[in-house]
């Protein structure tokens, strides 16, 4: 186990460098001259003055070979300097740390909803196995898997914002504005949690130690809270990590629909505006965050009881 964990941590270094490499490629391989774009943003009425263009080209170091440019950018990143936005001139790192809070808050709200929905429905589904309720819940889950999150979001906006007027449809003014996007994110990511909880509970219920506990005379409630819950906690936590990854990915679309000032909204507009320093920095940070969460999941997974892994395997 130790060996696996150390191996994963060592693998982190080349992975992060590869991500940096991919993120940096955006500016280098994009068609067009970045200096021209920067010049246009700095001085919209400046026209095309070759001297000014040469100045900006030198400022960005565009004449250097690829590896030198990459090295300069990467050493900057390591020391916390992500460069400055073409469009606004603000430091990218500052923008990032201002916006990451919203994305994390949204993801955590989503996680909260998906845990509540997943554990409750999974428990009900397992408790009433093969009844009409179980079948209905399972059918709902498989239908939900085929509904795109942005459609769900628009549907919820229509019902709760434009009709009932409970929440605002766009923008962020108070933490209340996170409820609706969080609910959408949680709902569209809860199917796996429901199935995991159901499968794990059923598998545990059929196992030897539960039988023994029953023979010993423990009530079903005692068995559930003392034994089963204890054993399925770790798979649930592990899947929570996996969900967090897909939620950070999914928040990109949700933020755009609800107009939340998170990194997803900013990244999409930066790419549209060819604001390379922002796109590069944000993508790199995105990748690194995901890599670290994945590392954490992998390590956590090593601690999951091998007997419980079977039920977790299908979902994680």
């Amino acid at each position: 186990m130790k060996k696996i964990i150390i191996n994963r941590i060592v693998m982190l270094i080349p992975t992060v460098i590869t991500i940096a490499f991919l993120a940096f490629s955006i500016m280098y391989f994009s068609p067009g001259n970045p200096a021209e774009i920067l010049m246009h943003y700095r001085n919209p009425e400046g026209g095309t003055d070759p001297a000014a263009l040469a100045h900006y080209e030198e400022m960005l170091g565009l004449d250097d070979p690829f590896l030198t440019q990459f090295q300069n950018w990467f050493t900057g990143i390591v020391s916390g300097d992500f460069g400055e936005s073409f469009k606004t001139g603000n430091p990218v790192a500052e923008e990032f740390f201002y916006r990451i809070g919203y994305t994390l808050m949204l993801s955590l709200t989503g996680l909260f909803f998906s845990l509540i929905i997943g554990i409750t429905l999974g428990f009900i589904s397992a408790e009433f196995k093969d009844s009409w309720l179980d079948n209905l819940l399972r059918l709902t889950q498989s239908i939900k898997m085929s509904i795109p999150s942005f459609w769900l979001a628009l549907f919820f906006i229509y019902i709760f914002s434009t009709q009932l007027r409970w929440f605002s449809a766009f923008g962020y003014n108070s933490p209340k504005d996170l409820i609706l996007p969080g609910l959408v994110l949680g709902l569209s990511n809860s199917s796996r949690m429901v199935r995991l909880v159901r499968t794990c509970i059923l598998e545990e219920k059929g196992s030897g130690y539960v039988y023994t506990a029953r023979v010993k005379g423990l009530s079903e409630n005692q068995i559930f809270f003392r034994h089963i819950l204890k054993n399925i906690t770790l798979p649930i936590i592990t899947l929570t990590g996996v969900s967090l990854v897909s939620m950070i990915g999914g928040s990109l679309i949700i933020e755009n629909i609800f107009g939340l000032p998170g990194i997803g909204t900013y990244l999409v507009s930066a790419i549209m505006a060819k604001d390379y320093p922002v796109s590069m920095g944000f993508l790199f940070a995105y990748g690194v965050i995901i890599v670290f969460i994945n590392l954490f999941i992998d390590i956590l997974y090593q601690f999951v009881d091998p007997r419980v892994r079977d039920c977790a395997n299908a979902e994680i």
């Binding site: 992975t15 239908i143 549907f155 790419i271 995901i290 994945n294």
Partner: protein, 280 residues
């Protein structure tokens, strides 16, 4: 008790036939969309943002185009692109998986590393990064999603190859002097294709969803072409005036994806009854 069970089983069978009938109907409508719904691009400002009616089942959009026609023509594009994407992804995944699993050693180590790096990115984020470089076009969309999609296939093919390369018929072929390319092509490839089939079916649905998501953000299919994500993006602007525009596209997309997923599940159950037992 026994009677009751028999009845439900028969009902279950009927339900399954209903599903497949629905899938077949939708597929026919999608494949022959240009013939059945030829007027998907006819602009008529006299009938802007109309409510669903007998002439226009899903209503009309801001240019007065019939939404039902656009939905099925759009689904046709999505399905076609998704099939191309899966074919490319499957091709790359098959090659990498076969070579990686059969050769082992350093080659395997190298490809496994590449696969890990690819999996480190969430698909949407990686896709957007690539689109930033390549620019938005339909071709980019296909390239990007194929590049992101091969890893899942490669993993399965690799693990299956590891199993099959120790089997007697492969060892026998090797003993009789067959070279690696022949063994991979003739003996291992046909055997590893079968376990990939359920995944490939599911991935078609995934592909359609991914195309819709990227188009919704403005990175995928470009107007005036019809596509579900794009249609929903446009409809979202009229959410107060014409909320019914959201219903049709989403419903058809969800139905098609759900039916394709069900097909994938059915194939998996057929191929691997063991898995079905574990899932309870």
């Amino acid at each position: 008790m026994r009677k009751f069970k028999l009845k439900t089983k028969k009902q279950h069978q009927q339900l399954i036939w209903l599903w497949w009938g629905l899938l077949a109907l939708l597929l026919v409508l999608i494949i022959f969309a240009p013939v059945i719904f030829p007027e998907s691009n006819t602009i008529d400002y006299a009938r802007q943002l109309q409510k669903p009616s007998l002439q226009h089942w899903f209503g009309t959009d801001e240019f007065g185009r019939d939404l039902l026609s656009r939905v099925f023509n759009g689904m046709r594009t999505s399905l076609l692109y998704s099939l191309i994407i899966e074919a490319i992804a499957l091709g790359i995944g098959l090659m990498v998986g076969l070579v990686s699993g059969y050769m082992g050693g350093r080659i395997d180590g190298f490809f496994s590393y590449i696969m890990n790096v690819f999996q480190a990115f969430p698909t949407t984020v990686a896709a957007i990064a690539l689109i930033a470089v390549l620019g938005t076009s339909d071709l980019t969309l296909i390239v990007v999603l194929s590049v992101m999609g091969w890893v899942a296939y490669a993993r399965i093919v690799r693990s299956e190859t590891l199993i099959f390369k120790e089997r007697d018929f492969v060892l026998g072929a090797r003993a009789s002097g067959a070279n690696s390319v022949y063994i991979l092509g003739k003996h291992i490839c046909p055997n590893v294709l079968l376990p990939v089939l359920p995944l490939a079916t599911l991935m078609i649905g995934h592909g359609i969803m991914a195309i819709a998501s990227l188009s919704f953000l403005g990175f995928g299919v470009q107007p005036p072409n019809a596509e579900i994500g794009l249609m929903l993006k446009d409809s979202a602007m009229f959410i107060n005036r014409a909320p019914w525009l959201l219903v049709g596209p989403g419903l058809v997309l969800a139905m098609v994806v759900a039916l394709i997923n069900a097909l994938g599940d059915a194939i998996r159950d057929k191929l691997d009854p063991q898995q079905q037992m574990v899932e309870l």
